[in-house]
Every structure is written in C-alpha cells, then in structure tokens.
C-alpha cells in the first residue's frame, strides 16, 4: 500500500474507527516510514492540543443578565417566527409578491408585445395598437330636422358596402334600403336607389370618414375639399350631405342635385 493510502487512514485512526487489522498494518507502516510518522505525529498532537485547551468559566453574571434582558422582552416569539420555518420561505413569499405585482402592472400598463394576443380577454380597456387612437364612430351624427343647404355635398357611388366599417355600413344601408319619395324616384329608373344623408362630422373625424367612404366606392368630394381649404385645421363640427347612389350613374346624381 502506498503512503498516500496510509495517510488517508489517519483520521479514522484518530477517531478509533479503524479495524484491528488495518490498525496493525498502519502502526507497522508508521514504524517503517519516517515521512508518514511525522505527518501522523503532527496530526495526532494537533488533536491532543485541541482536547487539552482549557475550558473557560462563563462570567458569573451571565444568567442574571440574560434573565434581566428576557424580562424586558415579549415572552415568546409567535410560532411562525420560531426559526423552524424553511429557509426558502422568505424567498418564496418574495417571488410570489413580485409575480403578483408584475401581473398587476401588466394589466394596467399598455404594452406592445405580440404575445399579448394570447390573452385577448385580459386587456379589455387597453389600447394595444401603436397607431393613434381613432375617434369613435359616434362622431358621425345624422342630423335631424331641416337639411342645411349650405353644407357641402359628396356623392358616393357605392360598389361594395362590405368594405367599410361595420357601423358605417349599417348606417348607409339603412338609408338606402327604404325607397325614396315618389317625386324623386320617378324622375329616373335608377333614382330609387339614391338617397340623401345629412351628416354632422367633426373636423378630426373627417379624414377617417373619407377613407371609409373611399373603400365603399367612388367618392366625389370636391365640395368638401373646397370647404376644407377655406377652413384649414377646422376642429368644429361640419355638416356634410352625402348622396348615396347604390346603382347609379353621374347623370342620375346630377339630376338628384338639381332636383333638390
């Protein structure tokens, strides 16, 4: 056996954990090998010194001081604070709190991450688009009462209703479905499908309305453009009359205008 293997038995020998046979072999080796003997000797003496270290007497007042300190304290810690709780508990509580705070912030703050689409119901009140918010459809108002003859006229020749906003679609359809008055409709075979709508729309909302109307079909907006040029940057509400022609031609529209 090599010296290294004998040296690895030193601690077991010190603790008295070595079998009789191994002990005898080690003792024999220590008589033969000076290097191992020196190492063993210093280890053995180190342990002896530790065992011989004097024992100190605690100060006499120690227990009196502790009892005095205890008098000024609460009798016991609550059980949950007893020190027997697992070490990971504070970490777990902290992680849970952090998670809850993150979820709370995620619900409240707008964000742009694509994975948010995985949770469509979770952000009902939040705008997820990066585009500026578009004014609501409620800025379109159908004007009640007498029509304003000074309001600009737009002519919309409808090709496909389905390409517009749902709300705009239904509004336009509701005005084209019922037949026009007998007087107007009798002038031309196609006039039954034409209708005049007077809308009030805010200046901000106007570009959106025009965009949507362009989707539906051909739009003659020259009068509206003129109005916009004379009042650049208008913020107030303006009235627009739209002539909706669902199956008409330029002639019919002209007739409609003249007949008005």
């Amino acid at each position: 056996m090599s010296c290294g293997k004998y040296q690895s038995q030193f601690n077991d020998y010190l603790d008295g954990d070595l079998s009789l046979r191994k002990r005898e072999k080690l003792q024999y080796h220590l008589k033969e090998c000076l290097g191992c003997y020196r190492k063993w000797s210093s280890l053995h003496k180190t342990q002896e010194i530790l065992q011989q270290l004097p024992t100190l007497d605690p100060p006499e007042h120690l227990s009196a001081v502790v009892m005095a300190r205890l008098k000024n304290r609460r009798l016991h810690r609550p059980l949950w604070f007893s020190g027997n709780l697992p070490r990971w508990l504070p970490l777990g509580v902290g992680a849970t709190l952090l998670f809850l705070i993150s979820v709370g912030l995620w619900q409240v703050m707008p964000s742009q991450y694509p994975w948010q689409s995985l949770f469509p119901g979770s952000r009902k009140n939040v705008v997820t688009s990066t585009r500026p918010a578009e004014p609501s459809q409620e800025t379109f108002k159908i004007r009640e009462g007498d029509s304003d003859s000074s309001a600009p006229v737009m002519v919309l020749r409808v090709k496909d209703f389905s390409r517009a906003d749902q709300e705009l679609q239904s509004m336009l359809r509701s005005f084209t479905r019922p037949p026009l008055p007998e007087k107007t409709s009798s002038s031309t075979p196609h006039a039954r499908s034409a209708r005049l709508i007077q809308l009030q729309v805010s200046g901000q909302r106007l570009p959106h309305l025009l965009r949507e109307l362009h989707k539906i079909g051909h739009l003659d907006q020259s009068q509206v453009e003129r109005q916009k040029l004379t009042n650049p940057g208008q913020q107030q509400q303006i009235s627009i009359r739209i002539v909706v022609v669902s199956n008409g031609s330029d002639v019919e529209i002209r007739q409609l205008r003249e007949g008005k």
Partner: protein, 207 residues
Amino acid sequence: MGTESLAHHSSSVKRQEEQLLVDRCRRGDRESFAQLMRLHEKQIYNFTYRMLGSEGEAEDLTQDIFIAAFRGIRSFRGEAKFSTWLYRIALNQARNRIKYLSRRNFFARQRRRADYGTNTVSETPEGLPDSAPTPEQWTMTKDLATQVQKCLDQIPLRARQILILRDIQGFSYDELSEMLSLKSGTVKSRLHRARAALRECLSEKLE
C-alpha cells in the same frame, strides 16, 4: 448493575429532567429556563469563545443565543436532544455574528492587537505556564493556547465550527450531522480537511 448501564441510566434521568424543564419553559416558566441555562451555559460560552476568540464578544453572543432559545422554545418538539437544538441556534447566531464582526474589521483589528502583544494576557486563559513550547513537546502553555486560537480564527468558518464541536467539545458524528444538517460522511470529510488546515497552521507558527 455495570458501569455502562449506570451511565446510561444517569443520562436518561438527566434527559427526562431536562425535558421537564423544557416543558415548563414552554409554558412560560422563566425559573425553569434559568435552570436550563445554568446546565448549558459553560458549553455554549466555550463554543462561542472558540468561534470568536474574544471573551467579551463570546459573552454577548452567549446571551443572544439563550434569548433566542427562550423565544423559540415553543418550536422545540423534543425530537432531538435539547443540547442539539440549542447548538443549532448557537451555530446560526455565531455565523451571523461573525459576518457582522467581519464587516466591521473586528478580526483584523484583533489579529493586529495580538501581533503587537497587547492582547495576549487578557485573551488567554489563566493558570497555564508561560514558557514557550518546543515543537517536539507541544505541551499546553498559555502561548500555545493563544497560537491555537489564532489558527482557529484563520481557518474557514465551516472548518472551525466542526473542529470545535468535534475535537474540543467532543460531540459524536451523529450529533454533528444532526446539528449541521449534514450527512455523516460529509461531516467526516469536512473534519479531516479542518484538521489538516489546523495542523498546517500550527506547524507554521510553532516550528
């Protein structure tokens, strides 16, 4: 009745008495706690002294350990020995105190004071011969005790605590593994490394 069975009987009686005191403590009886403290204060005080190397700090730490023990005694269920449970508290408190003192350079200042020889008398126990040891003899003297304490202060905390508990205070491997929440094999290997580190340090200082 043989000597062994007598010893066993006496230790079992001692344990029963200790358990009685613990039960009274759990009900808030301070006098029982004072009795328990008197039973263990010497061991704990010596443990803290060897861990910190300063009598003043050892006294403070011992006080804190017993106060922590009193406040947490309701969590002691009697599965382990009371001394094992108490030592677990002592180990935790000692680790925290050592961290605290290290941040404030306490040990560095203590070493400097010891190197200049201003601290050797107050920090070493009384009643030991003053003559310097020869490496061959290595018999216990006041100076050797100081050198051993210096070496204990220098070795890593984990090695120090295991060396104190096993080689100075004489706890068994089973008790050590319970106190340190380690497997017996791990305790052994750590102890072997700790002994080697201390032997090296002492050899440097004394030869």
